[in-house]
C-alpha cells in the first residue's frame, strides 16, 4: 500500500485547513451548481461568475474530506482570472492527471500548468479517493456548461 504521505501532502493539508475562495456570490449574475459524491455524502455548492469570457470569480461552500476540500480550494486559485477555454483545458488536464480522462491535446491551446494541483497526483494511488478529488471539478464543468459560455 502506498504511504499516507503520498496522499496527505503538506500543501493539501494547508488548503484543507485554510480553504481559499470559500463562500458565495450573489446569483444572478453568478451561476450556482450543486455537486454530490453519492458514495460518501459530500456536497459542494459552487458559485461561478464569468465576465467577458473570463472566469472572474469562483466560490465554493459545503462539507467534504481533506482531499475534496483542498482540491476545490486549489481549483479556484487555478481558474480565477483565466479565459473560459483555458479553464476548461485545466479541467481536462486535472482529470487526465486523475487518470479518468484522456488528455485531448489542443495544439491551439496549451493548458496552463497545474502548479500546486500537482500535489494531488498521489490521490491516483488511492483509487477510492479519486471521486473526492474530482467532485469540485465536475461541478465547475457543469457550472461552465450551465452559464452558457
Amino acid at each position: 500500500m502506498p504511504g499516507l504521505e503520498d496522499l496527505y501532502r503538506e500543501i493539501i493539508l494547508d488548503h484543507y485547513r485554510n480553504p481559499r475562495n470559500r463562500g458565495e456570490i450573489e446569483s444572478p449574475p453568478a451561476t450556482i451548481v450543486e455537486g454530490h459524491n453519492p458514495l460518501c455524502g459530500d456536497e459542494i455548492t459552487l458559485h461561478l461568475l464569468i465576465a467577458d469570457g473570463v472566469v472572474s470569480d469562483v466560490k465554493t461552500a459545503g462539507q467534504g474530506c481533506s482531499i475534496s476540500q483542498s482540491s476545490a480550494s486549489m481549483m479556484t486559485q487555478a481558474v480565477i482570472g483565466r479565459p473560459v477555454n483555458e479553464a476548461r483545458a485545466i479541467i481536462h488536464r486535472f482529470k487526465h492527471m486523475m487518470s479518468i480522462e484522456d488528455h485531448v491535446h489542443d495544439e491551439h491551446l496549451e493548458s496552463p500548468p497545474l502548479g500546486d494541483l500537482e500535489a494531488l497526483q498521489g490521490v491516483v494511488k488511492f483509487p477510492v479517493r479519486i471521486k473526492c478529488a474530482v467532485l469540485a471539478w465536475n461541478t465547475l464543468a457543469q457550472a461552465l456548461d450551465e452559464s452558457g459560455v
Binding site: 500500500m1 504511504g3 458514495l39 460518501c40 455524502g41 459530500d42 474530506c65
Partner: protein
C-alpha cells in the same frame, strides 16, 4: 461464553495479514465475514451436488431441491416462523422490502393512503416507498427522532391514524438503536395498518422470533449473518403473502400459462421466478447452522460486552474529541458505533485507519435523511460481530490516535 479463539479460527479472512499486520474487521453492519463452514458447504454443493431445483425428475435434482428447501426450513426455524412456506428467498433485504412495498402499493393501496416510515430508515426502506408515492399517490408520514437517537413516539397514534402500512427498522444501521418492535407492531395493528420490519441489522445479532415481534412481514439478508451475498429472505404471514402479487414473472412462479393468461404458483414459489440463488441458499443454511451452534443469546451477550468496552475505551481515551451517536446504554443498542472524530472528515479517518488495516465504514451509510437530521454528511462507523474481540477495539483506538500525527493535532 463465546470461545473467541475457536471462532476466529473459523474465519479465514481474520487470519489474513496485510503488510505483516493482521486485519481488524469492524464493518460487519455493512457485510459480515464468512466462516469455513459456509465456504465449504457452498463449494461442496457446487462440487458434488449441484443440480437444478423444482423441475427435473432425476435423483440429483431431487436432492438439490431438498437441500434448497432444507435451507428455507432452517431459516424458518431460526426466526420462529410458523411455516417454512412463509419464508420467501429474495436477493437481499432490499429486494424483500421492494417486493412488499411495490407489490402491496400497486395491489392494495390507493391514492391518498398513508404509509408511515421513520427518520432512521436505510434507503432500502425509503426509496421503494418514495417510488410508490410517485407512482400511486401514496402519502408518506415520518416518525421523528429524539435527541438521544431513539424514535420519538409522542405523536405515534396521530401518525398511524388511518395509515395502511408501518414499515420500520428493528435496529438503526447508523445509530445502533434497537427499536421497540413489539410496541410498534401492536400500535400499527391497533390502527389497522400492516407492520413491516426491516430486520437486517437485528436478525444477525440477536434471537429473532417473528411471532413474538408481532410483525406481519420481516426482511433480512444472508450476507450480514455469515452467509453469502446475493440471497436474503422475506418472512410474511401467509394471508399477506397470499394477497401480495409477485414482482417478477417467469419460470417457477407459475401454476399455468396460456397465451392470454397465467396463474401463480402457491407461496413462496410465486415470488421466486427463475433459477434462484441455489448455492447461496445452501450457504445461507450453513450460516444459520453456524450461528445456532453458538447461540444467538450468547452472541448478543458478547456484542453487548464488547460494545460497552468500545464505548468506554473511546470515551476515556478521546474525551471531547469524539462524539458517539446513538444511545449510550448498551441494552438499547447493537454493536454499531457511529462517531465523529475531532473535526476530521470520516473519509480521512477511514483512510488513516486503513493504513493500520482497521476496516470501518465512512460515509452516509445509505441513510441520508438520517444524516441530515444529525447535521452530518457522513460518520465513521465501527461495527462488531461475534468474531471481534477487545484487541480489535484497542486497534481502533490506536488507529484514531495515529490521525493526530497526520493532521497535526
Amino acid at each position: 461464553m463465546i470461545n473467541l479463539e475457536t471462532i476466529r479460527k473459523d474465519f479465514p479472512f481474520l487470519e489474513r495479514s496485510i503488510d505483516g499486520r493482521r486485519v481488524i474487521y469492524l464493518d460487519s453492519a455493512n457485510t459480515s465475514q464468512k466462516p469455513n463452514q459456509v465456504i465449504d458447504a457452498m463449494s461442496a454443493f457446487m462440487r458434488d451436488a449441484y443440480a437444478p431445483i423444482n423441475r427435473s425428475a432425476y435423483r440429483m435434482a431431487a436432492a438439490a431441491t431438498d437441500a434448497y428447501e432444507g435451507a428455507r426450513a432452517k431459516i424458518a426455524t431460526f426466526v420462529n416462523a410458523p411455516s417454512a412456506d412463509e419464508v420467501v428467498f429474495s436477493r437481499n433485504a432490499t429486494e424483500a422490502l421492494n417486493l412488499f412495498a411495490q407489490g402491496w402499493s400497486r395491489a392494495r393501496l390507493s391514492p391518498g393512503d398513508a404509509v408511515v416510515l421513520t427518520h432512521m430508515e436505510h434507503h432500502a426502506n425509503v426509496v421503494p416507498w418514495q417510488m410508490m408515492a410517485a407512482e400511486r399517490g401514496i402519502e408518506l408520514r415520518w416518525i421523528p427522532l429524539t435527541d438521544d437517537g431513539h424514535l420519538d413516539l409522542t405523536d405515534l397514534d396521530r401518525l398511524l391514524d388511518g395509515a395502511k402500512v408501518l414499515s420500520f427498522t428493528a435496529m438503526s444501521n447508523v445509530l445502533g438503536t434497537l427499536n421497540p418492535v413489539r410496541l410498534l407492531c401492536d400500535a400499527a395493528h391497533q390502527a389497522g395498518a400492516i407492520a413491516m420490519v426491516d430486520a437486517c441489522q437485528s436478525v444477525p445479532h440477536s434471537v429473532t422470533d417473528v411471532v413474538a415481534m408481532g410483525a406481519d412481514l420481516c426482511a433480512f439478508s444472508a450476507h450480514k449473518m455469515l452467509g453469502p451475498s446475493g440471497i436474503g429472505a422475506l418472512w410474511g404471514r401467509s394471508e399477506i403473502l397470499e394477497a401480495l402479487p409477485p414482482l417478477l414473472g417467469g419460470g417457477n412462479m407459475i401454476d399455468d400459462v396460456r397465451l392470454d393468461r397465467f396463474t401463480c404458483a402457491p407461496v413462496p414459489a410465486k415470488f421466486e421466478a427463475g433459477t434462484p440463488a441455489i448455492v447461496e441458499a445452501i450457504g445461507f443454511g450453513a450460516a444459520i447452522d453456524y450461528l445456532s451452534s453458538i447461540g444467538m443469546a450468547e452472541i448478543r451477550r458478547h456484542e453487548m460486552d464488547l460494545t460497552r468496552y468500545a464505548l468506554d475505551s473511546l470515551t476515556e481515551r478521546f474525551g471531547s474529541d469524539i462524539t458517539i451517536h446513538g444511545p449510550a446504554n448498551v441494552e438499547e443498542r447493537g454493536g454499531v458505533i457511529s462517531f465523529a472524530f475531532r473535526d476530521l472528515h470520516p473519509h480521512d479517518v477511514s483512510q488513516v485507519l486503513d493504513e493500520k488495516n482497521v476496516c470501518v465504514r465512512a460515509g452516509h451509510h445509505c441513510a441520508k435523511p438520517l444524516m441530515r437530521q444529525m447535521g452530518a454528511n457522513a460518520t465513521v462507523r465501527a461495527s462488531m460481530y461475534l468474531y471481534n474481540d477487545r484487541s480489535d477495539v484497542d486497534a481502533l483506538c490506536e488507529g484514531l490516535a495515529g490521525a493526530n500525527d497526520i493532521f497535526g493535532f
